[in-house]
């Protein structure tokens, strides 16, 4: 009987535990997480839960009783400080040791911190956990002034949610537009317009150089000399993979935990999945690390199957959504640069599809209120074949019938 241990009671970790049981793991399954709560989904934390529209229970991956019912031993509120591959144990902060035969690392990440003067003032929040969301919720009063630092997905969604709650929102980003790095300037500009049309004041190509206040933050100072008076601040400047407990493990670390297409780390019997896993993706033929809900679900399940010896290749086309105001933004695929941006519809309208194309092939797609078309492009991305770009652009052509070059 093999012992299965999962470090990280996250969406990826919980999905792996459930999958191990569903697929007939006959040994003990132990799910260890630093947070006090049972595993939960994070997307609502910047949206419906932050706005107070849905209760926390709705975000739980499974009700608490599920784990005992399925013979999954849980250790929530428990931090792992060390993984020892030669002794096949993980060590907890109280120095208890938990033996494993197969181990999954699903520890996710930690928010990148600001290091400018005044970063330790009260009233400056990050957002990763439900506790973080609860702290921000306490600050939500219509008419209060918030500065959102960073206009990635978290910053953009928080800005939207707080604006929807009637706060006075200023959002600041070092880039030319929101979501500039993942989506580029043309698409990012449409998101900037979306926020401005809802009354967010946006500041681009500027950075925060200091927070000022006596005990609490009262002013955000920018490099270009702006002084933004505020009641509180939310910082969303990215995630760092949580790999501290692996420092002396010998497991290969580089931008997270390096794994192959079977979710295997460099050490036999140890796997990684979710935000922390820098995985080899056979479709894009490179290592990549993504911080998406869908990847946590799918890779968590794939890792569990591989822990059971099934040799399942993980080759999902990555997909995510970002709801802002009433708009549904979805992205699928992977791209860093692109030769052409092929657009169906108009970028200055309420609904468009934009494909990031290299050598005639679609590497990634983003859609604003075009979910169905995003899904229809996903097989084209996976096929890695050049497509007819005129047809792609033509709104009258059903994307399922697009000509694909051999």
């Amino acid at each position: 009987m093999a012992a299965y241990v999962i470090v990280g009671a996250s969406l990826a970790g919980a999905t792996a535990a459930m999958t191990l049981r569903e697929e007939g793991a006959d040994g003990p399954v132990t799910l260890i997480g630093a947070e006090q709560e049972a595993p939960y989904e994070r997307p609502p934390l910047s949206k419906a839960y932050l706005r107070g529209d849905t209760p926390f229970d709705k975000a739980l991956v499974r009700p608490l009783a599920f784990y005992a019912d399925h013979d999954i031993r849980t250790m929530f509120g428990t931090r792992v400080i060390r993984v020892d591959p030669s002794e096949r144990i993980v060590e907890l902060e109280d120095h208890r040791r938990v033996p494993f035969d197969a181990l999954l690392i699903a520890t996710g990440g930690r928010n990148r911190q600001m290091s400018v003067p005044g970063s330790d003032l009260q009233g400056i929040y990050g957002l990763r956990t439900v506790r973080d969301a609860d702290r921000i919720r306490k600050e939500i009063v219509p008419g209060r002034r918030v500065v959102v630092v960073g206009m990635g997905f978290i910053g953009s969604e928080v800005a939207a949610s707080l604006r929807q709650k009637g706060l006075d929102v200023v959002a600041i980003s070092p880039s030319k537009t929101p979501l500039f790095r993942p989506l580029g300037e043309a698409v990012g500009q449409t998101i900037a317009d979306l926020h401005r049309s809802h009354g967010v004041r946006t500041i681009f190509e500027d950075t925060v150089v200091a927070f000022e206040g006596t005990r609490r933050v009262a002013t955000v100072v920018t490099r270009k000399g702006l002084r933004l008076e505020c009641d509180f601040v939310v910082v969303g400047i990215g995630l760092e993979p949580a790999v501290g407990m692996l420092a002396d493990s010998g497991i290969l670390l580089h931008n997270g935990v390096v794994v192959d297409e079977y979710c295997r780390t460099s050490v036999r019997g140890i796997y990684a999945a979710g935000d922390v896993a820098n995985h080899y993706h056979p479709v894009f033929e490179r290592q990549l690390r993504v911080e998406h809900w869908h990847n946590a679900v799918k890779q968590g399940a794939a890792a569990a199957r591989n822990m059971l010896g099934r040799s399942v290749t993980y080759d999902e086309v990555h997909w995510f959504w970002s709801d802002q105001y009433k708009a549904n933004l979805q992205y699928a695929g992977f791209h860093t640069t692109w030769q052409q941006l092929v657009v169906r519809g108009r970028l200055d309208s309420a609904s468009y599809l934009a494909c990031y194309v290299n050598d005639g092939r679609i590497d990634a797609v983003v859609g604003l209120n075009r979910a169905k078309e995003v899904r229809r492009v996903m097989p084209l991305i996976k096929a890695r074949r050049a497509v007819d770009l005129e047809q792609l652009r033509d709104e009258h052509v059903d994307l399922r019938t697009l000509d694909v070059r051999p």
Binding site: K58, H294, V297, W319, W321, D323, N328, A371, K372, R375
Partner: protein, 106 residues
């Protein structure tokens, strides 16, 4: 509601739902999605249990309907969740064909 108070109500004409098609209908104040799978009709709550998007605006493949907003999947025959993020099943309704009319039991 007990079975005593349930009855079949005409919801739509069968020829308004082609094979493989989905339609949304309002039956006594409830928004219900109806699918035609090879001439068999299945009816279920149109509202996704995740974030209240319309399932009739989703994609149907075999007996699986996919919600377009966030990708949740349901079995149209049972309402069962096949893929997250939907936290619970959708309610399903019995259907019958009377002449050209598709009736749903509510």
């Amino acid at each position: 509601m007990s079975d005593m108070t349930r009855e079949f109500v005409t919801a739509i004409q069968t020829n308004d739902i082609p094979v493989g098609g989905i339609a949304a209908v309002d039956v006594r104040g409830t928004r219900i999605a109806v699918v035609n799978i090879g001439g068999t009709y299945y009816a279920f709550d149109d509202t996704c249990t995740h974030e209240q998007c319309s399932l009739a605006e989703g994609d149907l493949a075999g007996t699986t309907v996919t919600c377009m907003c966030h990708g949740a999947e349901f079995d149209v025959r049972t309402g069962e969740v096949l893929a997250p993020p939907a936290p619970m099943p959708v309610k399903v309704y019995r259907t019958r064909v009377e002449g050209d009319a598709l009736q749903i039991e509510v």
